[in-house]
């Protein structure tokens, strides 16, 4: 439902979009746009893309653009000993070990046509990487990123954002939301950063009723979903409560049987953020790197002593579901899933988190029935 009057709104013809974006590049910004390569959509720098390759119609990118704010691997610091020095008396003093932070440097980067689910995921990552112990590497990148969302016109087969509180026209995390209306895109600025992007003359005032048409377009897209929870959406508090007390349910063992621990789900998930830290180098010189990791790998919790708190698949599958649908809601008040469906599409053994949610909702319904007098 359209509520308040937006900060700034406009209408840009589809044919003008690329010119607008190229002007942003001229201003010194990096602009990432969706392009199709070998049948898969990915975000590429506009500077290396021809005008007619910029997509305005696609379901979703193969990989979420989370790599822009949280790359697969990044150097945290470099360390090195200074050369051993001789002092005035000719005595050789050991060179001091020095550690230098490697702060990521990025141009202002516009991710154009990010989908509402992926933008919502970035908002979730924002919460994860903040707090009293905030992550400066994440923020050095995040501060430079501007998200221009493109509302979805049609869902992919495994999309289920509407079942987890999202929407094809969702605004969370975005600086601008664009919605296709006929030959143009209705643009709504959601932050000052977004409003500043819309200064171009390409944006005309939208006519009467355009905003309402955009809302209607979002609802139409939502109605086309194949995967919708019949018993209502998954709410953070409710699902966290339902899962408490289901830890030891044999359901997790059954569900986990066909998982092969490949990690594809986590690596393509827009909200997954576990990582490993390793030193690469010698004891005198090297770098410390962090890289994506996943609780689905059997060695994730393996102690050096050989003890593994999660030795079996059922513990790891349970952890994935619980982390996303209980621990994150309990700790930071949001679900750890935006319903993009990539984990379902990517899994070679057809593990299906939507099916898990169907079953969890059934537990919820049972509990309600039991609680009724």
């Amino acid at each position: 439902m359209i509520q308040d009057k937006p900060m700034k709104e406009g209408l840009i013809m589809k044919g003008e979009v690329v010119h607008w974006l190229r002007a942003l590049v001229k201003e010194g910004k990096e602009v990432l746009v969706p392009v199709e390569t070998d049948g898969k959509v990915g975000y590429e720098p506009l500077a290396s893309v021809k005008d007619d390759k910029v997509l305005l119609e696609f379901t979703n990118s193969h990989r979420p653009p989370k790599g822009v704010v949280f790359p697969q691997c990044e150097v945290l610091l470099v360390y090195g000993t200074e050369k051993d020095k001789k002092d005035a008396a000719g005595k050789v003093g050991k060179g001091r070990m020095k550690v230098r932070e490697v702060r990521p440097e990025m141009k202002e980067t516009v991710i154009f046509a990010i989908r509402p689910c992926d933008a919502r995921a970035v908002a979730i990552l924002d919460k994860v990487f903040s707090g009293t112990d905030l992550d400066p590497y994440y923020w050095a990148r995040r501060e430079k990123v501007i998200l221009v969302g493109l509302a979805c016109a049609e869902p992919d087969i495994n999309c289920f954002c509407t079942s987890v509180g999202g929407s094809p026209g969702g605004k969370e995390g975005l600086d601008v939301l664009l919605t296709g209306i006929g030959g143009g895109l209705y643009a709504e600025a959601l932050t000052k950063k977004g409003a500043d992007l819309m200064g171009s003359k390409a944006f005309e005032a939208p006519g009467a009723g355009v905003r309402e048409k955009a809302g209607a377009a979002h609802r139409t897209a939502a109605e086309a979903f194949a995967r919708v929870l019949k018993d209502g959406t998954v709410e953070p508090k409710a699902v966290a409560e339902t899962l408490t007390g289901k830890y030891e349910d044999p359901y997790w063992d059954e569900t986990a049987k066909r998982c092969i621990g490949c990690g594809a789900c986590a690596f393509l998930c827009p909200t997954c953020h576990c990582f490993d830290i390793n030193d690469e180098g010698t004891k005198r010189k090297g770098r410390r790197v962090r890289s994506w990791d996943t609780c689905q790998f059997p060695d994730f919790t393996l102690h050096t002593s050989g003890h593994n708190p999660r030795p079996m698949k059922k513990f790891r599958i349970r952890q994935r579901v619980y982390h996303k649908f209980k621990y994150m809601p309990d700790n930071i008040g949001v679900l750890g899933c935006v319903g993009c469906g990539r984990c379902i599409s990517m899994c070679p053994m057809n593990m299906d988190i939507f099916k898990v949610l169907v079953d969890v909702k059934a537990w919820e319904a049972q509990a309600k029935k039991g609680a009724m007098p």
């Binding site: 070990m97 994860v128 903040s130 400066p136 830890y247 708190p309």
Partner: protein
């Protein structure tokens, strides 16, 4: 919430980088035990004197030590935080990083991040009896809180230590234990699993010794650290003696990397051992999934 950004006070890229270690120099190394279960206590101080003076922590908190090139490990700071001139960690040689650490000499450099974790809630224990139950290398975090309590004598009532190891060769902090045996500030009950010639103290497992010593639960707190199997039975026996689950505290070990609750590795239930632990009461631990 549109354009959701946390408030500027925490989304600030200029805030302190908790991934960056400070440089420290090893000033003393003590071999506590040798052989397959070799333990060494490393005494170190930050190279930056001001940083060292202002490094403050609570007993039970941990530090992540970098052995550059090998990696990082989280260790409990085993000396009492009331000593300001240096920090100590007591390390069992287990894998790549601890082996590299054991190979270092006095004067060598390590990295230090921290302090991390919650530490023991000592202020809530003022006026109570405290029973420390340690096994093997688990004595390291206990040493920190125990020595703090001893130094703050008068704040607590009766202090008791029940400590055991597999053999006399596996006992750590032996010289300190010998001193404590003579000390009026704490009742010390040592034990080893299997009898050895000349051993005058208890022979048997630590949990059994707990039943032998029979610490009274009224007005008492129990702190236990050691191998998981020992902790399990110590807690069982403490409960047999009448201790309630909020009177028993332990530390949880977990594989850790970032130390600040971001990388996910030490996530158990809703907590991160590095941030919300490693100290947990038995009451809190019971509520977590048994994944530790």
């Amino acid at each position: 919430m549109s354009g959701a950004r946390p408030d500027r006070s925490c989304g600030n890229a200029d805030a302190k980088n908790l991934y960056l270690p400070q440089i420290a120099e090893i000033i003393n190394i003590k071999e506590e035990t040798k052989g397959a279960r070799a333990v060494k206590t490393f005494r170190f101080r930050l190279v930056d004197e001001l940083a060292q003076r202002s490094f403050s922590y609570r007993a039970g908190q941990c530090a992540i030590v970098s052995v550059f090139g090998a990696g990082e490990c989280m260790f409990a700071l085993s000396n009492t935080p009331m000593i300001k001139e240096y920090m100590e960690v007591s390390v069992l040689r287990q894998g790549r990083v601890t082996a590299a650490l054991h190979a270092l000499q006095v004067g060598d450099t390590i990295g230090v991040r921290g302090p991390f974790g919650n530490g023991f809630p000592i202020e809530n224990w003022v006026g109570k009896n405290i029973v420390f139950v340690g096994g093997g290398i688990g004595q390291a975090p206990i040493r920190s809180v125990m020595n703090t309590c001893i130094r703050r004598k008068g704040d607590f009532k009766r202090l008791t230590l029940i400590y055991g190891a597999r053999t006399t060769a596996d006992l750590v902090f032996k010289d300190e234990l010998d001193q404590l045996l003579k000390s009026p500030d704490i009742d010390v009950h040592l034990g080893i699993d299997v009898a050895e010639k000349g051993w005058p103290h208890f022979v048997g497992f630590v949990p059994t010794n707990v039943l032998e010593v029979k610490p009274p639960p009224e007005g008492s707190i129990a702190v236990t650290c050691g191998p998981p199997i020992m902790i399990k039975f110590v807690i069982m026996n403490l409960e047999k003696l009448g201790f309630k689950d909020d009177q028993i505290f332990t530390t949880v070990e977990a594989k850790m990397k970032c130390g600040i609750g971001k990388c996910g590795r030490c996530n158990i239930g809703g907590v991160y051992v590095c941030k919300d632990g490693p100290v947990f009461s038995w009451k809190q631990l019971k509520a977590l999934p048994q994944e530790y």
